[in-house]
Amino acid sequence: MRHLMNPLDFSVDELEKLFDLANKIEADPAKYAHSCEGKKLATCFYEPSTRTRLSFEAAMLNLGGKVLGFSDAASSSAAKGESVSDTIRIISCYADICAMRHPKEGAPMVAASRSGIPVINAGDGGHQHPTQTLTDLLTIRSLKGKLGGFTIGLCGDLKFGRTVHSLINALIRYQDIRFIFISPEELKVPDYITDMLSEKGIPYEEVIRLENCMPQLDLLYMTRVQKERFFNEEDYVRLKDFYILDKEKLSAAKEDMLILHPLPRVNEISVEVDDDPRAVYFKQAQYGVYVRMALILTLLELA
């Protein structure tokens, strides 16, 4: 029995199979509409996360399965003090597969070690969020036709953003990738990541302003710059506009560049950009459902 805790749990070959399946589902969803009939997905969400939970639920419903679960710790037995180990043993009696989100890092791993059913980490604190990374990879592969051979700009909060760290770790397994990190000094990508890239001989650049690198990018991965990450308001006011993508900045970009964002977006991408064909962040949410469908089928060994 397999679980998914970390985006690197699957080899590059296994990911290729998973993404192939996701693309088959995309091409012919009706063919898979009954694949999980009689199966149940438990969504154990110890903290609220509307999009991820609904994406998992939509994925299971699209496959003809059923869903049950809870959407915050207060409405679960955790409020009475039940351990994750005990909860998953009980859930194993009720469902065939479980997606778990928990504010404590490593909680889904503890669940997996005690579980009788496959467990998917749907986000554990600031640690991992593997299905977001799989979503990002599937979006890139589907719309670019390949994973590798491109320059990707990662923009915004690169210090605390777990989606960014996971994506970097996942992308370095592919050939010929160049990173451009676009962030204020306060939110630079951590040293251990740049050290690792240097050790592996993977090219990267760090820049302060998005305009400085826009024409070079094949992909632009936007994240939110949060006010509370800055030491003072003055710096925030001075820098925030550097990280807002609008039509003017986009005018310098390649015609086939893709703009991704893990969402929710606040103001870092102007609404005027949404209609640009390069803006694929809403498509990305759709790919999130396809990749979760493929994952459920794979972990239930129904693929």
């Binding site: 180990s85 928990h102 404590k104 890092e105 909680a107 503890v110 554990d124 604190g125």
Partner: protein, 145 residues
């Protein structure tokens, strides 16, 4: 001067930092073994001033000493057979350590889950870096503390 007799077969753990012998006694789970153990505290040492020594009389294949590499690199491990030192054992960093150190990350599941062992996995042998099995919080060996 206190005299402790020599052992026939087992280990003499020398150059233990003074005061640390009981901690090592517990980490090696010597309390659970039915063997003779001498704990010598604050012995005079030319090199260290004061040191602790542990003498353990046991079958040399029964005791896993790898954890010593994590706790203190400087401990000398003399292997004794037929009353003589036959080898000085080289310590190798263990792949995993259980319940020796606690994860300091307040967001780690170990901070709330009952009776969950604190497990650290060797992530970088050269830099002597361990990471929490659950949250990947970094921890070094005693030489990096």
């Amino acid at each position: 001067m206190l005299n402790v007799g020599k052992i026939e077969e087992g280990f003499v753990l020398d150059h233990i930092e003074a005061g640390k012998s009981l901690e090592i006694y517990h980490h090696l789970k010597l309390d659970k073994l039915d063997c003779t153990v001498a704990i010598i505290k604050n012995a005079r040492s030319n090199k260290m001033g004061k040191k602790d020594i542990l003498k353990v009389e046991c079958d040399i294949n029964t005791l896993n000493l790898d954890i010593l590499a994590f706790i203190d690199h400087n401990i000398t491990v003399n292997v004794i057979k037929d009353g003589e030192i036959v080898d000085k054992k080289e310590l190798v960093l263990p792949r995993e350590i259980h319940n020796v150190i606690k994860c300091k990350n307040p967001r780690c599941i170990t901070s709330i889950e009952q009776e969950l062992p604190h497990i650290f996995v060797l992530a970088d042998e050269e830099k002597e870096i361990y990471r929490c099995k659950y949250c990947e919080e970094k921890a070094g060996t005693s030489s990096t503390w």
